[in-house]
């Protein structure tokens, strides 16, 4: 009897194994091809060069040498690096602070209008980035100058047309459009805070401000940390909506690293020219080597020194 049960369990286990293998094999092959092979190929590509006659050949560290030499020669690398850091620092700081404040307000106060706020704040994420950016561009370049002319009788250029205000307008747009979703994520985390913790704090006479710093922030810090890690990981990927605003013809002054990498890749692909791809891969590899330790260091630091839920 016991042997029969064991046999049946063994048979079930074998069937489970076969079924499990059937389910996961194709997706794992997909992962191998589109993640492992892509990234492995990216590393190989960084050490190759392309010639239209002979195709790809091994180039050793030449792409990296060219990259460092170009860094000294062309100013746009430094500008792109500066803009990427600016978009990240201003964008992340303002977005995180405002998103936390707004979500805390909705969590504590706006119990009746919560759903309306949620829908309105989520709306920009639903509309295509190209449609949103075009609407903003028309508003900033056409409507705002007309408004200023009507009210102040003063002729001004559009915010995205005037080189002095373009970068500011780009950063403003990215913050304005970007933190609605973060509010929803923080709000979700705040709603998970146990009611008994909040009630106990209230009995201790906690105020609106002290409750935020002593109870809410430590308990949602995991979500804050995750979103910050994602933001740091995206420093050199972020195109700051430049493709949506200017296509592939943005002025060099406003380049970000992410925009430049994307623009050059698309340009090479559409022209069927592979010559530029190895150096772009080398640049990507270099940036990955910079970003990975920064992300892990930040993760470690915030875990060690960030607010604790205890």
């Amino acid at each position: 009897m016991v042997t029969e049960v064991k046999k049946r369990a063994g048979k079930k286990r074998t069937h489970d194994r076969i079924f499990f293998a059937c389910l996961v094999t194709l997706p794992l092959i997909h992962f191998f091809v589109f993640y492992i092979c892509v990234n492995f190929n990216s590393i190989l590509l960084a050490f190759k060069s392309y010639n239209s006659d002979s195709g790809y050949s091994w180039a050793g560290l030449q792409n990296f040498k060219n990259l460092f030499s170009d860094f000294g020669k062309f100013t746009f690398y430094k500008k792109a690096l500066k803009n990427s850091m600016l978009v990240f620092l201003v964008g992340t700081t303002v977005s995180t602070v405002l998103a936390l404040l707004f979500s805390y307000y909705i969590y504590k106060k706006a119990s009746r209008g919560k759903n309306v706020f949620k829908v309105l704040l989520f709306m920009p994420s639903i509309i295509s980035s190209i449609a949103m950016a075009t609407m903003f561009k028309q508003f900033a370049d056409s409507a705002i100058p007309k408004l200023i002319q009507t009210v102040f009788h003063k002729e001004v250029q559009g915010l995205l047309q005037n080189p002095d205000t373009t970068m500011g307008a780009i950063i403003f747009y990215n913050v304005w459009i970007g933190f609605g979703v973060n509010i929803l994520l923080y709000l979700g985390a705040m709603n998970n805070i146990s009611e008994s913790v909040v009630e106990a704090a209230k009995l201790d006479g906690v105020t609106f401000v002290s409750e935020f710093f002593k109870i809410t922030l430590p308990l949602v810090f995991g979500t804050v940390q995750t979103l910050l890690v994602v933001a740091i990981g995206g420093i050199f990927i972020n195109q700051a909506s430049l493709v949506s605003f200017f296509g592939t013809t943005s002025e060099e002054e406003f380049f970000t690293i992410g925009y430049w990498l994307y623009k050059e890749t698309v340009k090479n692909t559409l022209n069927n020219s592979n010559a530029g791809l190895p150096q772009l891969s080398a640049f990507g590899l270099l940036l990955t080597f910079i970003t990975v330790p920064v992300v892990y260091l930040f993760n470690w630091l915030t875990k060690k020194f960030g607010p604790s839920a205890e």
Partner: protein, 295 residues
């Protein structure tokens, strides 16, 4: 007690300041959208003389002109061909629906296998998802394009569906959470009755998670509908509406160079998705939170 504390909080000047800034932010989101909708039905002169008021004459014909000017040329084996907006709409639907369905299905199946079968590989799959989410890889697009071209998937709808048939990302974790908390009673009763693993999955488990499946598929559909980077990078000759709008917004054609015409083009892409969002916002926003999906 709670009400008393709430009333006490209401008097805080800081909360009042936050409330005012929040309202200003929400208004700032709504104003450009409403302005765009109104401007999209104005004439060029009407807009120049009256950029903020109601249209003197509601020119819905702007949408017809915009739709006609979405047309774009592509190169085929037989030469250059013009793609009209209807073909772009069809491409958008095929790309968004196909990619959303296959992406959601594969993610759901992988999460099911990983959450419900206690094998060593299940833990590996979960680990793969977590590691790839926190590993920031920059600049792999050239390699991806090269690989897609080598595999013969470049500039092909089937190729795009295949590319999107992956399981990595946040949605895997949402499905994983759903399957982990789903009671095992139904499936175990079915196993006792002699049901196979496939029958249990198709007839019992998948119907139980249909809400989560629909919600994630809807979110993916909206993402793909709005995505023009994929068309730009991987299928330049299969133009979608989003890519059509990208070309339209960058175009200097006199017929569509005015603000009302540019905005009419934006509305063609944005309005259908906004309608979809308002119809299903409870499903999209009510079901999904950072912790998972409520069934």
């Amino acid at each position: 007690m709670k009400e008393k504390t709430k009333r006490k909080f209401s008097l805080s000047p800081l909360s009042l300041v936050i409330f005012v800034i929040l309202i200003l932010y929400v208004i700032s989101l709504l104003v450009p959208l409403l302005w765009s909708l109104l401007t999209s039905v104005k004439g060029r002169l009407d807009y120049l003389n009256n950029p903020f008021g109601l249209p003197k004459k509601w020119l819905f014909s702007n949408y017809k002109t915009a739709a006609e000017n979405f047309a774009s040329n592509i190169s085929t084996n037989k030469g250059v061909r013009t793609v009209q907006i209807w073909e772009m709409l069809l491409n958008s639907l095929l790309f968004s629906l196909g990619s959303a369905f296959i992406g959601t299905f594969v993610t759901c199946i992988m999460a099911y296998a990983s959450a419900r079968f206690n094998f060593f590989m299940s833990k590996i799959i979960y680990g793969i998802v977590i590691v790839t989410m926190i590993l920031p890889i920059v600049g792999s697009l050239p390699s991806e394009i090269q690989l897609v071209k080598t595999l013969g998937l470049y500039d092909s709808m089937l190729g795009m569906w295949l590319m999107k048939a992956g399981f990595l990302g946040m949605h895997f974790l949402i499905f994983y959470g759903v399957f982990k908390v789903l009671p095992k009673d139904f499936s175990e009763a079915a196993y006792v009755d002699g049901a196979s693993n496939l029958a249990v999955m198709l007839k019992i488990i998948l119907p139980l998670v249909r809400n989560a499946f629909f919600t994630i598929m809807l979110i993916k559909f909206i993402d793909f509908w709005n995505d023009y980077y994929m068309t730009m990078s991987f299928m330049p000759n299969i133009k979608t509406l989003a890519f059509g709008l990208y070309e339209y917004s960058q175009s200097y054609k006199p017929a569509i160079s005015s603000a009302p015409m540019k905005l009419a083009g934006c509305c063609i892409l944005a309005v259908p998705i906004l309608i979809l969002f308002f119809c299903f916002h409870n499903k999209i926003m009510g079901n999904v939170s950072m912790g998972g999906i409520k069934e």
